[in-house]
């Protein structure tokens, strides 16, 4: 929690400092109030003139007004600091997440990152705003009030102290007892969310299998668990309020009761002082108790906020595995070279890729084929540095990719990932997404890209053409259209190198074929790296790399591989009829 405080700006620290002074001011004024009260009480008992009472009353009101005014100013500072800190934290988390590589995103999970950016920060904001008011006020208040009443009577002091002690013990035990359950609530809410999401995404399967009842039972179980924990915590927490009320009323009764005895035993001359002391003491004792209740409230809020702070710090403290290089000048254009590249995931023992070497010249098409899990996708992900090679070197345009700035390498490579992802907005905003050398793709280039990607036909059919709306996740276009838009988006950047990670899977054959012909025709100087499942797709490639279990078992053209490489031949014969192979 304290770690997060270092993100306060100098100005906000100043606000905090001013707030401390002002809070001390309000505490002073508020503690003045009881003495006026007691003056008024004395005047009342002695039958003082109404005029005097009015004067005292007005002074007291002035104090109250002053404290209210100060509080409003404090409120302003607190609100500014709390909201400012949380806005900054959100921004820090957001840009940190932006800098993350795939590995970190996967580690945290997207859903959790979202909660951390919004909900957890809100928790911190609540704590800071509440804390700044009470955490500063409560101790000042408590100490000051105690100092004032300390000399009055030890009997009352003992009484007050024991009330406070009892209150604290009960609250703290309660909190300690219930806290673990609060953490459980979070995970149980997650399961509710998960099962519900499964139900929604799999609604067709659920219905087709008449599994509605089965699913409702599954949900019912999670619901029951969550409710049980909720019942436990809330049934315990509701003890607090009645108990605090009881302590407060009990204390005031006790003070009177004790007061009666003290006054009874006092000297006649001291009786009146004792009486007004009693009235004053009661008000101050209430303030002390309130101060301690405020303090304990923080103890209730703190554990939750600490969990949030921890979650935020985890993000801030995580370093992206992939960092910007120094920046370098490319030596050539459109060249990709792997030099003895091996790769394994950071925590894994086994290598996913081992000793891969090849070179793609400008304008060439290099294809990668192999069974699932053979490392094809991983291999091409090393080029735009989604991951970094564990050993060996990946060179683009003659320079190790690690030397480029990330923005530099991303400007050279056009990536079409396996899963086409579109942003909400319009077709145009999607095609123009991102920037190349600090600029957006021009209209000319994205229209041309759409044509090459075979997307212009369906775009032109739409009423608003390129301004047609795309909903979140691209749910209002078909899978094939989504994929074509994703391809067009990459082409619009005029990259030197295009990466297709099995990017034609949702296309029907006709479109698929036209698309690849267009790429061949229009993007002559672009180097293509293609991951594919089918021999037909890659037969004409300039270079085919055959992968098996992360190792390169074949390298060459189709004809060569048919002769030399058994794995390739196996794949090919399973797909092609005899005549076609001949």
């Amino acid at each position: 929690m304290l770690k997060l405080l270092k993100y306060l700006t100098k100005k906000e620290w100043l606000y905090c400092a001013i707030s401390v002074v002002l809070i001390a001011g309000t505490v002073y004024l508020e503690l003045e109030l009881p003495s006026y009260m007691s003056d008024i009480t004395t005047l009342l008992t002695t039958g003082g003139a109404v005029k005097e009472i009015v004067i005292k009353g007005l002074i007291m009101l002035a104090c109250a007004l002053g404290s209210a005014a100060l509080s409003v100013i404090i409120g302003y500072f607190v609100a500014k600091v709390a909201a400012g800190l949380s806005a900054r934290l959100r921004a820090i988390i957001f840009s940190k997440v932006q800098s993350f590589s795939n590995a970190e995103i996967r580690k945290f999970s997207t859903a959790s990152l979202i909660t951390r950016t919004t909900n957890d920060v809100t928790q911190i904001q609540n704590l800071v705003s509440f804390g700044m008011q009470s955490m500063i006020r409560a101790p000042i208040m408590a100490v000051w009030a105690i100092v004032i009443i300390l000399g009055k009577s030890w009997e009352w002091s003992v009484l007050t102290a024991s009330a406070v002690g009892l209150l604290m013990i009960v609250i703290l035990t309660l909190v300690l007892f219930v806290m673990p359950k609060f953490k459980k609530l979070q995970t149980q809410t997650d399961s509710i969310n998960r099962i519900m999401r499964e139900n929604l995404t799999g609604v067709r399967v659920v219905r087709a299998y008449n599994a509605e009842e089965f699913e409702e039972k599954r949900f019912g179980q999670a619901n029951e668990d969550l409710t049980k924990t909720h019942l436990f915590t809330s049934r315990f927490m509701v003890v607090l309020n009645p108990f605090m009320n009881l302590m407060m009323s009990g204390l005031s009764l006790g003070i009177y009761w004790l007061g009666a005895i003290i006054i009874q035993n006092a000297n006649v001359s001291l009786k009146l002082t004792a009486f007004s002391d009693m009235v004053v003491f009661m008000s101050y004792a209430m303030q002390v108790v309130m101060a301690f209740i405020l303090l304990t409230m923080i103890f209730i809020m703190l554990p939750r906020a600490t969990v949030s702070a921890k979650r935020i710090n985890e993000i801030i403290g995580t370093k992206s595995a992939i960092l910007d290089g120094e920046g370098a000048e490319p030596i050539s254009t459109g060249e990709v070279e792997f030099k003895n590249v091996s790769f394994k995931y950071p925590d894994a023992d086994e290598y996913v890729l081992q000793d891969i070497s090849f070179k793609a010249e400008r304008g060439q098409t290099v294809a990668f084929i192999g069974s699932t899990g053979s490392g094809k996708s991983t291999l091409i992900n090393l080029v735009p540095r989604i991951y970094d090679a564990t050993e060996g070197e990946v060179l683009v345009d003659g320079v190790t990719v690690k030397d480029y700035k990330l923005s530099q390498i991303n400007g050279m490579v056009g990536d079409v990932p396996q899963k086409a992802f579109l942003f909400s907005g319009t077709i145009k905003s999607n095609l123009q997404y991102g920037e190349i050398k600090g600029e957006k793709a021009s209209e000319e280039s994205y229209v041309r890209a759409a044509k090459i990607a075979q997307a212009s036909s369906f775009i032109e059919k739409k009423e608003d053409k390129y301004d047609s709306e795309i909903t979140q996740g691209g749910t209002n276009v078909s899978g094939g259209q989504k994929q074509r838009l994703a391809i067009a988006r990459a082409i619009a950047r005029n990259p030197e190198i295009m990466i297709f990670d099995d990017s034609f899977s949702a296309l029907d054959f006709k479109t698929d074929k036209r698309l690849r012909q267009a790429i061949k025709r229009e993007l002559k100087s672009t180097t293509n790296l293609i991951v594919a499942q089918r021999i037909g797709t890659i037969k004409d490639a300039d270079l085919i790399i055959v992968l098996d279990n992360g190792k390169m078992v074949g390298k060459g053209k189709h004809e060569e591989l048919m002769k030399k490489c058994s794995v390739y031949r196996e794949i090919a014969t399973s797909q092609l009829s005899k005549e076609e192979l001949a």
Partner: protein, 602 residues
Amino acid sequence: MRMGGRGQSFDRAKDFKKSIKKLIIYCKKYVWAIVVALVLALAGTVLSLIGPNKVGDLSNIIKEGMFAETGIDMAAITKIGLTLVTIYCLSAIFSYITSFIMATVTQKVSKRLRGDICHKINKLPLKYLDGHSHGDILSRVTNDVDTISQSLNNSVASLVTSLAMLFGCTIMMFLTNWIMALSAIVSALIGFSVMGVIMMKSQKYFKAQQDSLGDLNGQVEENYTGHNIVKAFNGEKQEEQAFSKLNKKLYTNSWKSQFFSGIMQPLMSFVGNLSFVVVCVVGAVLCSNEIIEFGVIVSFMIYIRLFTSPLSQLAQIATTLQSTAAASERVFEFLEERELEDESSKTLVLENVVGKVEFKNVVFGYDEGKTIIHNFSAKVKPGDKVAIVGPTGAGKTTMVNLLMRFYEIDSGEILIDDVPISNLTRENIHKLFGMVLQDTWLFEGTIRDNIRYSELDATDEEIENACKVVGIDHFIRTLPEGYNTVFSDNTSISVGQKQLLTIARAMVENAPMLILDEATSSVDTRTEQLIQTAMDKLTKGRTTFVIAHRLSTIKNANLILVMKDGNIIEKGTHRTLMKQDGFYKDLYESQFTSKHAEVIET
């Protein structure tokens, strides 16, 4: 979620009442528990109202006895003291029981709300679910129900006690002394009306804060989901600009609403002090005229505190109730969505079908007035294989939607064994079809449970047999916990293996007819062959509808339905269609012939 939030600003008051009313009706089941809670709350309030009177007596006795020769009447003090102790304890117990009951009711209500939403999902037409964002529905289950539960928990009991306290206090004050009562109430009301004005002004910032938080959440969600693309396309700057714009808006709304809620408390205590002074002054005047005793003033000092605190509580409750209203509006809106037609009156049950399917003049469109399937008729003999082909976006899944009655046809009839499916319950139809879809849906549970799924009577042996037939048994056994491996996002199971699991699931279901989606994207050839063999085994002897991509499937089909732009434009066998020289021939030639063929299959 964001969309829903915006429309609500109109007609707030009416919506407010309507939503709260619905919520109250929803809680009807717990009416007795709530009544008990309320009675106890009232009792507790009455007790705490007697308190000040007694404390007043106490200080009167002390003051009188102070200079009297007999001294203070300690016996009387003890008596009052003990009464007060009893009163305080009782009132604490009452208030705890009230809170306990309310907390329980609240949790039960939230549980029921969540359960009802889950139940509702199964009752809604797919048309609704396809057209609404999942995130929005999820947010209703968690966020909105949470909001309701939190506010119910805090508000209802304190609403009642506050109101009771307010009325009780007013009555007690008037009973004690009407002049002082009047002055106390007037001064308090002046203070509170000032506060009311501030609250009204600040309300919009609270709303704006929620809205901008929603907007920000949306942007963050989209950005994190598409993180790879953002990076690959150097979109960081663009995203950060969008983010910081929303973040700034949230900041502004946030500090403003925070400010207003922060100053409420100090203003409140000022009002309390104001009332205190007024009471003292008026009391002093009355006292000096010997109209009242000193004890009355002491009682009033406590009354005034009891009077102002429920007023401030009410103010807070009003704000929480506003958000409760908004949340329950969203929940009930969902619960009141039009459900699928009730089918309890349908008694016809079709079992042991031979698998004859007939389409008779079927007309269908997703949107009213936009018919995509025009007057389609076809007959499918038992055991036939029907291939559905066509380019992307041609609407091949429409056929699945109609056969399974996920969507209702506009006119015409689909018959199974000569029985119109509209005469059957959906449950019955679903039982007749096994289904394997392209997007392989599995839930987080063990592999065994996933394969057994709703066929709860399937034995472990049947499950393992199905897996053996499909050829995934060996793979499952290599997993550390075999069939008991819990499937989740982190389990490393490839798309192809998932597909095999769904085939095994269909095998266990053992339905007389089948619907298959043959797409084999992102699957390597070896796995694809496995899948193919598994599917062939599955379709043996069953009437099968296949969304086909493989040449062999298409060539062997007894009937091919060619779809384009949603409509079925040609039908026949491979041979007859080739002769027709139409769209099918064109499609076929572009894909499966010539030397450049994308040799996808054989």
